[in-house]
Amino acid sequence: MAAQLPDSTTLLAPGSAPLPSLLSARRLKNQKLARTLRLWVPGSIIIALAFICFVWPHIYSIPPGNTGSILAAQEPPFSPGHWLGTDPDGVDIFSMLVYGGQVSFEVGFAVTGVGIVIGGLIGLSAGYFGGWVDTLLSRVIDVLIAFPALVLALAVAEVLQPSETHLIWALSVFSVPAFARVTRAGTLVVRELPFITAARLSGTRSWRIITRHVLPNVIPGIVTFSLLGIGVVVILEGALDFLGLGIQPPQPSWGAMIAKGQGVLTAQPELVLIPSIVLLIFVMSLNLVGDALRERWGVR
C-alpha cells in the first residue's frame, strides 16, 4: 500500500470506537474516567483484601483462627467479639477468613510466580528455537496438561506432608504448562516480526534477542493471563481444601470453611455464604483487573 488513506469503511463500521477527535471533550473525559475506574476499583479491592489479611491482624488483635471455645459456638453474625459469628466449634469466622485468606493469597501468587518463571522459560525457548526443541517441549506440555490435577495433589498429600509449600509445588505442575503454552504462542508471533530479523542479521546473540527483544513483547500477554491464572489457582486450591486434600485442619482455609459449612447448610447457610462471597469477590476482582489491563495494553 502506497498512500495510507484512512479507510472509510473501518472508520464508520458500526460498533468500532470512533476516533478521539470525533468525540466531544466531555464524552472523552467520561470514557477516560470509566477506563481508570475499571482498573482501580477491582485493583483497590484486591489491595484492601491483602491489607486485611496480612496487616490487620498485626494492628488489631483478633481471636485465633484455629481454635475456639465451645461455649461461644454457633453465634450469629454481629455478636459481640465475633462480628461475623462463630462456627459449630466456636471458631471466629472473621479470623478464619483472615488466616485462610493469607493461604489463598500466598498459594495463588506463588503458584503463578513459579508458572511464569519456569513456564515462561520453557515457552520462550520452545517458541524461539523451534525444531526438535519445540517438538520435545510441546509433547511434555501436552502430557502435563492432560494429567489430572487431583491424582497428583493426593499423591503429594500422601507422600509428603500436606503443607502449604507442598501444595504450591503440586499446583505448579499445572501452572507451568499453561504459562509455557501462552508464552510459546506469544513468542511464535513476535519471532516473525521484522525487528527480530533485523536483530538477527546484525549478529545479536540468541539470548540477547530473547531477553531484550522477544521478552518485553510477550510480557503484557503473560501478565494479563497471570491475573486470570491467580483466580483459577485460588479456586483450585479451595477445591483441594474442600475435598480435604489441601491445607489440613486446624489451619484455616476458605475451601475447608465451605466444606465444614456444607454439613450445616440448612441450619446455618451463612457458614457457606460468607467464605463463598469473599472468594467470589477476590477472584472476580482479579478477573476484572486482568480485563482492564488487557484493554489498556491491547492484548487479546
Binding site: 460498533g15 509433547r139 489430572p148 499423591a155 474442600f242 447457610p269 467470589l280 477472584v283
Partner: protein, 345 residues
C-alpha cells in the same frame, strides 16, 4: 465431506477407481491420522505418569485390603492375584498389554474388573456431561450472538456481567448455593440422587443442579470467547460488508456468516476442555451423591486403588483425544479450505 468428494470426482474422473489414493490424499483424513499419531505419546505419558505417582504413595494395597492383622501368606496370595509381585516396569507393561486388549485390570478395593466398574458408573457421568455441554454450548452461542448484535448495547452489558460472574464463581460454591436455594428453600430439584432411575424426567431433574454447577462457568467462558470473535468478524471482515451490501438480512449476516466463521476458537476450546472436566465432575458428583466416575475417582484415590484410577484417567484421556478429532473434522465441515487441503489462515 460429501461435497468435497463430488468436486474431486468432477475434477478427476479417474479418482473414482483409485480408492487408495483418494483415501490417503484426503486432507481431512490426513489430519485425523496425524492427530491420532500425536495422541499416542500423550496417552502413554499420562498413563505412565499416573502409574509413577500412584506407586509413590506408600502402603501395600494387599495390606490395605486384608487389614493390619493379615498373615504373610495371605498377603502373598493377594499380591499374586493382583500381580503386585512383579517389578514396577513389568506391571506397567502388563497393564498396557491389558489396555490394548480392552482389559483394564482388577480393582484393588473390591477385586472386581475395572471394566465392569466403569460400565456401572460411566453412564451417569456421560449423561451429566452431555446435559452440561448441550445446555452451556447452546445458551452460550445464543447469548453470544445476542450480545454481539450490538456491542456495548444493553444485551451485551448484561451478558458481560453474567459471564464475569460465571468466570469467577467456583463450581463447588455454586453447587452449595444452588442446593440451598433450589433444593432446601423452594424444593424444585433434589439435593441428593443416588441413582438416576429409569424415568428420563426424574433423571433430568436429578441432573439439573449438578449440570448447572459445572455448566455455568463453562457457559461464561464460551460466551465471552464467541462474542469477542463475532464482534471482530463483524468489524474487520470484507465478506460481512459484501453480504450487507448484497442486502442480506442483518440477522442472517450475524447467524450464518459471522457466527459460522467465529466458531473455530470455540470448538478448539471445547475440545481442549473435555479432559479437564474430570476435575469438575470429581468435585461436583460427591456433593450430589451421584454415582458417577468422578465420585469413584475421589474414593479410588483415597484408598490408593491404582487400576481404578488408571482406568478413569484413561477414559478421560481418550475422551480428550476423541474431542480433538471431532474438532478437526468440524473445522473441515466449516471451512472449505481445510477440506481441499489448502492451509486456512
Amino acid at each position: 465431506m460429501a461435497l468435497a468428494q463430488q468436486v474431486q470426482l468432477q475434477r478427476d474422473p479417474g479418482a473414482r477407481h483409485d480408492f487408495a489414493r483418494r483415501v490417503t490424499g484426503s486432507p481431512a483424513l490426513r489430519l485425523v491420522g496425524r492427530r491420532l499419531l500425536t495422541a499416542i505419546p500423550v496417552l502413554l505419558g499420562v498413563t505412565f505418569l499416573t502409574f509413577v505417582v500412584m506407586n509413590l504413595i506408600p502402603g501395600n494395597p494387599a495390606q490395605l485390603i486384608l487389614g493390619i492383622n493379615a498373615s504373610k501368606s495371605a498377603i502373598a496370595q493377594v499380591d499374586a492375584k493382583l500381580g503386585l509381585n512383579h517389578p514396577f516396569w513389568d506391571r506397567y507393561w502388563i497393564w498396557l498389554d491389558g489396555l490394548l486388549h480392552g482389559n483394564l485390570g482388577i480393582a484393588y478395593s473390591n477385586q472386581q474388573s475395572v471394566n465392569s466398574d466403569l460400565a456401572q458408573h460411566l453412564p451417569t457421568t456421560c449423561y451429566l456431561l452431555l446435559y452440561t455441554l448441550v445446555v452451556s454450548l447452546g445458551l452460550g452461542v445464543l447469548v453470544a450472538m445476542l450480545a454481539a448484535r450490538k456491542p456495548n448495547g444493553i444485551a451485551d452489558r448484561i451478558s458481560l456481567a453474567v459471564s464475569m460472574l460465571g468466570l469467577s464463581v467456583a463450581p463447588y460454591v455454586l453447587a452449595l448455593v444452588l442446593i440451598y436455594v433450589f433444593a432446601v428453600k423452594v424444593q424444585w430439584f433434589p439435593a441428593i440422587s443416588n441413582s438416576l432411575g429409569g424415568n428420563p424426567l426424574t433423571a433430568i431433574r436429578a441432573l439439573t443442579l449438578p449440570a448447572a454447577s459445572i455448566g455455568f462457568p463453562l457457559f461464561a467462558v464460551y460466551t465471552r470467547l464467541l462474542r469477542a470473535d463475532i464482534v471482530e468478524q463483524m468489524q474487520r471482515e470484507d465478506y460481512i460488508v459484501t453480504a450487507k451490501a448484497k442486502g442480506v438480512k442483518p440477522w442472517r449476516v450475524l447467524t450464518v456468516h459471522a457466527t459460522r466463521n467465529s466458531l473455530f476458537t470455540l470448538i478448539t476450546l471445547v475440545a481442549l476442555n473435555l479432559g479437564t472436566l474430570i476435575g469438575a465432575v470429581a468435585i461436583i458428583e460427591p456433593i450430589f451423591s451421584l454415582p458417577g466416575i468422578g465420585a469413584e475417582l475421589i474414593s479410588a484415590i483415597q484408598i490408593n486403588d491404582l487400576p481404578l484410577v488408571e482406568g478413569i484417567v484413561v477414559v478421560f484421556a481418550l475422551v480428550t483425544v476423541a474431542g480433538n478429532l471431532i474438532a478437526d473434522l468440524l473445522y473441515a465441515v466449516l471451512d472449505p479450505r481445510i477440506r481441499y487441503g489448502r492451509s486456512a489462515s
